[in-house]
Every structure is written in structure tokens, then in C-alpha cells.
Point group: C2
């Protein structure tokens, strides 16, 4: 909680202090008092910087997305083969999802926010770059599958495993290593490469 001491916060300070709060508890789960507390301010001071709670929330989400979306794509090297690029992408995606839980949860909240179509477009804005990168890769890799569905599948395999981390923990067969991004990445890569029946003869 108490991340701040000095007063005189800028708008951006407030956004960065409160992003983890909204990521954790969602719009309805965070009060202006909560935000004020982590900023070391009173609620009244917040209303100097933002007209109301929803404006603050929208700026928090936009700020976080702008910040993180660039990092998603900088890891692809055209000099590598498509398969190696895909392997690296999956590994990087698993690491991002494991490390940046704030970003991951914020995306979940935006997907669930039923109120505004604008917030859905925020997710599209971020998701589209991600999707396009995978789409271009898999289109080069394999002509049998619909590249659109294949891209969705790859992203689903990495993201939903990461998103469901808290629930997964209570399922039979769970081991701590299942939370390691490298373990997830290797599993997804193996599954994509070989499927289920490649091992029947060799295992």
C-alpha cells in the first residue's frame, strides 16, 4: 500500500500509483479513498486532477496500455526462422504474462466491463498488434490451419493459463513449477509442434 510520501503529485504519479489498485480489484472494487490513500492524498485532492472516478479509471487503463503494448512486439527478429520466432514469441509472452500481472489483470477487467464499447476498443487496440504479429508468423509456418484460429489458439494457450493461476492452484496435480513461464512456454511449444499422437510410438 503506502507507496508515496511526498505530496504535490502530478497526474501521471496518480495514474501509476493507482494502476495496481484497479488491476487488482476492478472499477467497482476501488474507491476514491483507496486511490487517495496509495497516493498519500485526500479524496478531495484527486478531484482537482480528475473530474470524476470514471475519468481517472479510463486514463489509468489507457496509460498502462500505452506503456506496455510496445514491449510486446520488440522481441521479434526477422533474421530468425518463422518457427524460432514463434518459439521466442511464446516464451516472451509467457514471461510477460507471468511478470506483469498488473497488465494481465487490467486486460481481463476491460474485457469484462460491460458498460462501454470504448473500453472494448482499448483492448482491441492493444490486442490487435499482438494478434497481427502472431498471425503473420503462423501464416508462414503452416498452410493447413486457418491462421486466424491458430493465432487465437496460441494466445489462448499462454494467456488463459496465466490468467487462471489462482484457480489452477487448487486443482489436483498442481505443482509450483506450473507457474514458471519457461515451463508453460515449453509445454505450449511442444503441444503445437507435435500434438498428442506424435509420441505414441516413441514413448
Amino acid at each position: 500500500m503506502g507507496q508515496s510520501i511526498g505530496k504535490r503529485q502530478t497526474r501521471e504519479d496518480i495514474l501509476e500509483f493507482s494502476v495496481s489498485l484497479f488491476a487488482e480489484f476492478g472499477y467497482d472494487g476501488v474507491s476514491m479513498r483507496d486511490v487517495a490513500a496509495v497516493c498519500g492524498l485526500t479524496p478531495a485532492a484527486l478531484y482537482y486532477h480528475f473530474p470524476h472516478k470514471e475519468a481517472l479509471y479510463l486514463e489509468v487503463v489507457a496509460h498502462a496500455f500505452r506503456e506496455k503494448s510496445a514491449a510486446l512486439l520488440n522481441n521479434l527478429k526477422d533474421s530468425d526462422s518463422p518457427w524460432v520466432q514463434l518459439e521466442n514469441f511464446i516464451t516472451n509472452l509467457a514471461h510477460l504474462a507471468a511478470k506483469d500481472e498488473i497488465f494481465l489483470r487490467l486486460m481481463q477487467w476491460v474485457r469484462l466491463d460491460s458498460e462501454e464499447i470504448r473500453q472494448q476498443k482499448l483492448a482491441v487496440h492493444v490486442f490487435k498488434d499482438l494478434f497481427l504479429a502472431v498471425h503473420a508468423l503462423v501464416a508462414k509456418l503452416n498452410s493447413h490451419y486457418d491462421p486466424y484460429m491458430l493465432s487465437m489458439s496460441i494466445i489462448s494457450l499462454v494467456f488463459l493459463s496465466s490468467e487462471g493461476r489462482k484457480i489452477r492452484k487448487f486443482m489436483p496435480g498442481y505443482r509450483p513449477e506450473h507457474d514458471q513461464p519457461d515451463v508453460l512456454a515449453r509445454h505450449v511449444i511442444d503441444l503445437l509442434r507435435m500434438g498428442l499422437f506424435q509420441h505414441r510410438t516413441s514413448g
Copy 2:
């Protein structure tokens, strides 16, 4: 909204009236007054049937999930081979996710629940049976993969594709048939069976 007219609701009536409310707006987004309204009752009457809001919510979710997961498990016939059972399960899951948006959104809310104790209760008492069924199935199918991770992957492939339906529509390459549960099921089954490189030689 106003789905009910007659008074004298049973517990189950209340659960079924309020499930779409919690699915749409989540725990914090629904007040006891809202629930009372769709049941045609006053908030006080609700407290005759349930000690507090959280108990009501937990029963709503548990009720919805018991109903759906029982239907899924009943479609597994031991007379079929494990692979045929898995194919049928994936197809049924895809149809459920496409048809029952309330169930799908409820699952999203549960995954975002910030109260870990609440999540644990739901996971243990509701998800566990479903997960175990998939777990037992894939354990028979293939010994190379960790059955825990493989079960999560299969569920992820079907669910996240369905959850992201509204966002997917804006991605390049989208066609309306991608929303058909049979198309999704066939794609997932093919991917699981053969992986990406089974088709390199056959075209």
C-alpha cells in the same frame, strides 16, 4: 429485468432469477436491492433465505456450475475410446460456451475474484469434478505431457476463443464461421491430434 410476478419464491427461484445479474455485472456490481427487484421481493425477504450477500453469490455460482458441468460430464460414455470421449467433450464444451453466455461470463468473474478464499471455495467445490474428468481422460491418452497442463490447455483453447468473441470480430482474418462451435471444436481437435508439423509432408 422484471422476470417474476408471484411471491413466495423458493431458494432456487432466487438463484435462477439473479444468475444473469451476477454474470452481467459481477459481485460488486450487483446490490441486494437489484437482486430483490428481479425476484419481485424486498431486500429483507432475501435475508430470510440467505444470511448475507456473499452466501447468495456463492450459491448462485455453484448452482449454475453444477447444472452445466453435470451436463458435460453426463455426455462422457465409458464405452467410447478415450480419444472419442475427448473429442465429444471438446465439442460439447464449444457448444456450451457458444450457447450459454451467462455461464461463460460467470466463469470470467470468478477468475477475476480478488478474494482468494471465495475463489478457493468455488474451485474446490465446483470446478474440481470437471477438471478431474478431463485430467483422467488425457492421462489415458498420452504419457508424454503433464496431464495437469494438458487439461488446462484444452480448456483454454475452447474457452478463451469463446470469451474473446466480441474482440476477435475486429481482428484481421475474421469470418462469421469462426463463431460456430463445430468449427472451433474441429480446429482444436485437429490441433491437439496433429500439431503444426504433421501436415508438412502431406501438403
